[in-house]
């Protein structure tokens, strides 16, 4: 309950600040964001797009964590948690892709241009599409849980090749790619003013809490369904 209320307040504040605060060329007040040449109003995307991607990575890590737990303990509850986390990750992965593509249309000129980051998020979508088709192909519960856990672990070990290595050897438009004057790498040093930084990190914390809330809610629902099913 407290989680839900504090989450509501925090995300409301983040949304109001991120969308409502004016952007001016020479900030006078604490609430004014500085103008970034070439980005202008489009800079606001960072408050939503990056936390969405962050949430989906977090969800995939959670899914893999419960997958490993399942292989160790063989507890069906771990499999439920794993698939619920993968589902949330998939949802937010789609959101990150769509927000990024719309932004790319207005800033880079086309919805999609196979930038390394775009390629890696595309592969994430493919992996989890494959994960869910594997789950739906197997009828036996334990077998489904084992095979999908193993698949998610194998997929997870190949993801670093996209996130850490590909952007370094391929040139791209996204921050952190080869050719970026601020250096290539997965961790991007954003040139943000202190007030933007506060909103950005508040948004990150808000999305993390959002994940915890949604995850707990859906795990509870999935468990109820499981026990209902088990009763007959």
């Amino acid at each position: 309950m407290t989680l839900r209320i504090s989450l509501g307040i925090l995300l409301t504040l983040v949304i109001v600040a991120a969308i409502g605060f004016p952007i001016s060329a020479s900030p006078q007040h604490w609430y004014e964001f500085p103008l970034i040449p070439g980005l202008e109003e489009k800079a606001r995307l960072i408050f939503f797009h990056v936390p969405t991607a962050w949430l989906s990575v977090m969800a995939f890590c959670t899914s893999m964590f419960y997958g490993i737990l399942y292989l160790r303990r063989r507890d069906p509850m771990d499999d439920i948690s794993s698939s619920v986390a993968a589902g949330l990750g998939f949802l937010f992965c789609i959101l990150a892709t769509v927000t990024g593509a719309i932004w790319a249309k207005f800033n880079w000129g086309s919805f999609w241009n196979w930038d390394p980051r775009e390629t890696s998020i595309f592969v994430l979508l493919l992996i989890y599409g494959a994960y869910f088709s594997l789950r739906s192909a197997v009828d036996v519960e334990e077998k489904r849980a084992t095979l999908s856990s193993v698949y998610s672990i194998i997929a997870a070990v190949t993801v670093p090749f996209f996130i850490f290595i590909m952007p370094r050897i391929m040139t791209g438009l996204h921050p952190g790619a080869k050719g970026d004057p601020d250096g290539a790498g997965p961790v991007v040093e954003f040139k943000m003013s202190p007030n933007m930084r506060v909103v950005f990190f508040a948004s990150l914390i808000g999305f993390t809490l959002l994940f915890i809330w949604m995850f707990r809610l859906r795990v509870r629902a999935a468990r109820l369904e499981y026990f209902e099913h088990a009763k007959g």
């Binding site: 292989l71 390629t119 592969v123 493919l126 992996i127 599409g129 494959a130 088709s133 594997l134 192909a137 197997v138 077998k143 084992t146 095979l147 856990s149 193993v150 698949y151 672990i153 194998i154 997929a155 070990v157 190949t158 090749f161 996209f162 290595i165 590909m166 050897i169």
Partner: protein
């Protein structure tokens, strides 16, 4: 304890036995080999018809080479595990042989099959696709060697999953593609460098990625195979 009975030697013998068993039964039926050969010939002729005498740039053609190899591998490399489930011999193998030896034997079999497939495709491709010429052979050889090893490594563990899922071939490319994509992208970029005649040092980054990919995939496969294999 005599030298012949150390655990390592016993494991090596079991691995060799699994490999030889698969090899012999393959030579008797020639199921996977004929499927692979026909697939490669069909695909290359489709490319020839599609080009229709028009030349394509070496960049496009070096990507196309790996499209042929990828789909040919998808048509043949799942066979080694699917066969065990179809004939009902998986249970016997589980009882008599250590899981790691089974995996190593199957991996070895797929490595041989994958190498044969790659060599065949590359030879036919070099003969028939006239627009594709390799200028730096050292890069090209490295790319096809590491590429076929990585392809066999990743497709063996996915084949084990597929055989268990009872879906036969339909899911195989779907599950394999995201896992193989880092490998394919790197190997295509190395092949392009070879077609462009770049010096060997240009492709060192690609080779590092390929080698680390193979190491990572084989290690995780060995660790996870037991969970898939045992009921």
């Amino acid at each position: 304890m005599t030298a012949a009975n150390t655990p390592l030697l016993r494991w090596l013998r079991a691995t060799g036995a699994v490999f030889m068993k698969d090899w012999r039964s393959e030579l008797r039926t020639r199921y996977a080999i004929s499927a692979l050969v026909m697939f490669v010939i069909t695909t290359i002729s489709i490319i020839l018809f599609a080009l229709g005498g028009e030349g394509a740039s070496p960049e496009v053609l070096s990507g196309m080479l790996w499209v042929v190899i990828f789909f040919a591998a998808m048509s043949g490399l799942a066979r080694t595990f699917v066969m065990e489930e179809e004939r009902g011999t998986a249970m016997m193998l589980q009882l008599t042989t250590a899981p790691s030896a089974v995996f190593a034997g199957k991996l070895l079999f797929n490595l041989v099959l994958g190498a044969g497939l790659t060599v065949l495709t590359v030879v036919l491709y070099l003969i028939f696709i006239s627009g594709f010429t390799v200028k730096t052979y050292s890069i090209f050889l490295g790319a096809i060697t590491l590429g076929s090893i990585g392809l066999a490594a990743a497709s063996t563990i996915i084949a084990a999953i597929i055989a268990r899922a009872n879906t036969k071939g339909t899911l195989y490319p779907v599950l394999s593609f995201p896992i193989l994509l880092p490998l394919l992208m790197t190997v295509i970029s190395a092949t392009r460098l070879a077609a462009d005649g770049m010096p060997f040092s240009e492709a060192l980054g690609e080779f590092q990625i390929l080698i680390s990919y193979i190491v990572v995939v084989v290690t995780t496969s060995v660790l996870l195979f037991e969970y898939i294999w045992k009921d």
